[in-house]
Every structure is written in C-alpha cells, then in structure tokens.
Symmetry: C2
Subunit: 268 residues, 2 copies
C-alpha cells in the first residue's frame, strides 16, 4: 500500500476546468468509483468514422503482476463487454501496427447520489461521483492473465460468484472470452455532495423562500429479491448472493445519505 | 404521432453487430431510454488530443419547432452539463468554421435492470437497456429555444419542477446557462431481458445443476425520502415532488421485474 496518496498527473486532456473544487486526481477515489460501477462507458475514435464510438462495458481495476495491490495503487483497467468485437479488432490492429502501445480510449463511470432541488432551476444540481480514465487498450492474450481478469470481473459484479459457479472455464470458454487491458495514462474524478446552494438574491427573497421547497432527493441503486431461473435446482439462495445483496443495499443507501453532508463538514 | 414506427437508418457507425437480435433502431425505444436516464455520457474527439473526451451530462429529447412531438417522433437531443465549457467552446469553433453543422458527438445512456447469474461465469449477463445516439452538437443561442430546453431538462429530472421553482430565469441565469442542441444522425439501442441461458453441456451436468444457484438479481434505482435543505421553509414536501418520487420508484421496480420475462414471451 502506498505511503502517500497517489495522484494521476494533470494532463491537458484530463484536467478538470469547470467547478475544479469538486475535482480529485487521487487514484483511490477514481478507482473506487470505477470498481463500484456496474457499467462503464468506453469511448474511442474508429478510423474514418464520422463519429466517436461509445459502448457500455464491464470494467474492474486490478494488477495481474501484483494481485494483492490496493485500490489506491497503480492499477490496470480490465474490460469485458458484450458489444466489444469492433473495439477488440481495432485494438488488435493498433497493436500490430507497432506505432502505438494500444488503442487510445476514454472510460467514464458516473453515479447519481441525489437530486438537489434549489429555489431556481439554474441552481438545481445532482449529488454525484464521476470518474474518467484515459489509457491505451490492448487485448489480453496470456491465458493466466485472462483467467485473472475473468475472475476479477466476475467477482466485481457479485462478490464470491467465481467460486460459487462452475469454474474453471473450459478451453472453449477461454477462447470465446475477450478481455482488454487498459494501461492508464491519466484520470480524474468529480464529486458533488451537500444540499442546495442558491444565489444570494434568491436567498433574500422572502416570497420565494416561503413558496419553493428546497432539499435533496437521495438516489441509490437497490437489488431486489433474487428470482430463481427456470432450470435452477438449488432451493436456498446461496450465502455469497445473500451477503452480497445485503452489503450492496446497505452501502448504496448509506452513500446517498453520506452525500447529503456538505464537503468539509464530515464527522471525523 | 407517426403512423408507422420510425427507425434510425443502419449506418456503418451505428449498426449493432454483436448479439444483434437484441438491437433495435426504433426512435421510440431509443428516445425513451435517453429520457429515462438521469445522466448520459457524451463523447467527442478534441482536436490534437491524444484521447477522446468523455463527460457525464444531463440530456432530454425534444423538439423546439414542434413541442407537442411524441417520444417516437424525430427529435433533437438537448444537453446541459456541469463540465461542458470545453465541449461548448469546441462546438462553437466547429460552427464558425463553416465546414460542419456542429461537433460530431456520440451519446450513450445505459440502465442495468438485473444481474443474471448463470452456471458458469461466461454465461453471466446483465438485463439492461442501452441506447447510443450520434449527431452534431451546436450551442443554442436563441433565447426562446434555450428557455424551452431549460424547462425540458428541469422537468426531465423531476416532473413539474419548473413550475414548482422560481421561474422564469433572470437575464443573468439565461446568460450563464449553456445548452447544446444535437441534431441526430443515427442511433441504436440494445435490450437484454430474461433469465440465464447456459450452454447445453452445462445444462446436462447434474452435479453442476445440483450445486450452482441460477437466477436474476433485479436492479433498480430508488429515490429515498426527501431531505429538506438548510434554508427550506416549506414544511410539507410539495405534491409534484411526492408524486414524482412515487411514480419513479414504482416504475423503476416494475421495469426490473418486467426485464425478468424472456423476450417474445410478454403478456399481451
């Protein structure tokens, strides 16, 4: 674990200019937001395409060289996606051309923690946590690294699910699974917490204050009761699923309430 | 309202190749996913930048020329974002250069409706709704169109909030708000519903079937109890907030349960 908090460098492409007081470059914060997101959005510019491409994918931060690495350490992003064959092919092309260590991509993960209702529409806001990473993506070809990433991603969705399912993958499954490793060049996060902040002129308007409700609607994801599939034979929902669901729901609701606190006013 | 279901053209940049049976090009479906998302991710290639840019923004589909247009009609995407000044400046540049009707951007909105737990990690999946739109973004300069978009976006977050807050915006608020209009060139959506689908060899393995639980964990967003802000004076949470919250929570949980049905097996 690093002794000092590691930060990504502020590169021109990664520096937050607007509301920069909400920005952080700390690896721990950025990686935490990515790992806590069920989906990330991946963007890249395909050659000769009139628009950038953007895809939802599943991603987790990890280190194959040092699997015990902490979330605050230097990590790679491993990506797995259902719509990734085009990305994979372009990435393979970028690799083989030798001109680049991979395909330049941008990855975003964002969570809404609350709807902030102010006196005037312009002062409305979200409480949110948003992370962006920039890096170069290459296809993972080493079988043991691919296995590492498959486990990382599976357990990133439901903790303990890898061991709770039929593993290891057979040769056909290993072959059919594509995993990208993204070497991170830079990144940033933005976080907004607290209540509404209206302009002084509205805060001095008694009629407006007497009429308009202001506050926050907390927003969080919920995992509902497990629904067994048509060929399920295991009567009892296994502990790893129950424990994951309980922890997820508790953490999600707590995060939305934590986000109500003004920045810098957290309890020690 | 169109008599036939309108679809976006299948352009090379917008055609879904992988799991294309899950794809749709229907405007109604795509626009519905975008309008139901609290955040969209916007991607564009900044000139000379080594990576694409990607930003979370707030977006709603609408038509200033025909405000009564249905969600299934041809619509523009209006974008408002807290980190958009760079995008806005580049967009202004693209406009003034005359070489293009705006900045080429890609916009994605994705919702996870369930975690699909199968026998083997490879067959794990999400139930999800994901939409991508491609188009050209320009800054809205006309005051009445900007006002239209501000109301559209505000009511897109909390139905009825525009009239429930201090409106209309004053001159300074109109000046400080930037809105982008995206003329849509193409788009697609992908939707996955149903339970787990394992390979035949695993479905024939009695030991695996007896050991591994399979099914779906429904996922949905929840809006918690409203929390009044520090300068709120309105004792009772207003009806538009309560009604919005009730409807949001009911719809979100229902969508996650709807997503459990196998495609093509919906009740009439």
């Amino acid at each position: 674990m690093p002794r000092f908090e590691l930060e990504y460098p502020k590169e021109p492409y990664s520096t937050v200019h607007r509301k920069s007081s909400r920005a952080t470059y700390a690896l721990k914060t950025i990686h935490g937001i990515v790992n806590g997101s069920q989906l990330v959005h991946v963007s890249f510019q395909a050659p000769d395409a009139p628009f950038p491409a953007i895809l939802p994918m599943i991603g987790q931060m990890g280190s194959f060289e040092r699997p015990s690495a902490d979330v605050a350490d230097v990590l790679d992003l491993y990506l797995h996606g259902y719509v990734s064959s085009r990305l994979m092919n372009i990435s393979r092309g970028a690799e083989s051309s030798g001109s680049s260590p991979g395909l330049p991509i941008a990855v975003a993960a964002s969570q809404v923690d609350g709807l902030v209702l102010a006196l005037t529409p312009n002062a409305h806001s979200y409480n949110y946590r948003s992370a962006v990473l920039f890096g170069h993506a290459t296809v993972v070809t080493d079988a043991s690294e691919k296995l590492y990433a498959m486990r990382l991603i599976t357990d990133g969705i439901v903790t303990g699910r890898w061991d709770g399912s039929r593993v290891p993958p057979n040769a056909a499954e290993m072959q059919s699974t594509s995993v990208l490793r993204v070497r991170i060049a830079g990144g940033s996060a933005k976080i907004r917490t607290g209540g509404p902040h209206d302009d002084r002129c509205d805060l001095g308007d008694e009629a407006v204050l007497d009429r308009v409700w202001t506050g926050v609607l907390p927003v969080y994801q919920t995992i509902g009761a497990p629904v067994a599939g048509p060929y399920n034979r295991v009567a009892q929902v296994p502990d790893h699923v129950t424990a994951f669901r309980d922890e997820f729901n508790t953490d999600a609701a707590e995060l939305a309430l934590e986000a109500l606190k003004e920045p810098g006013k957290e309890k020690e």
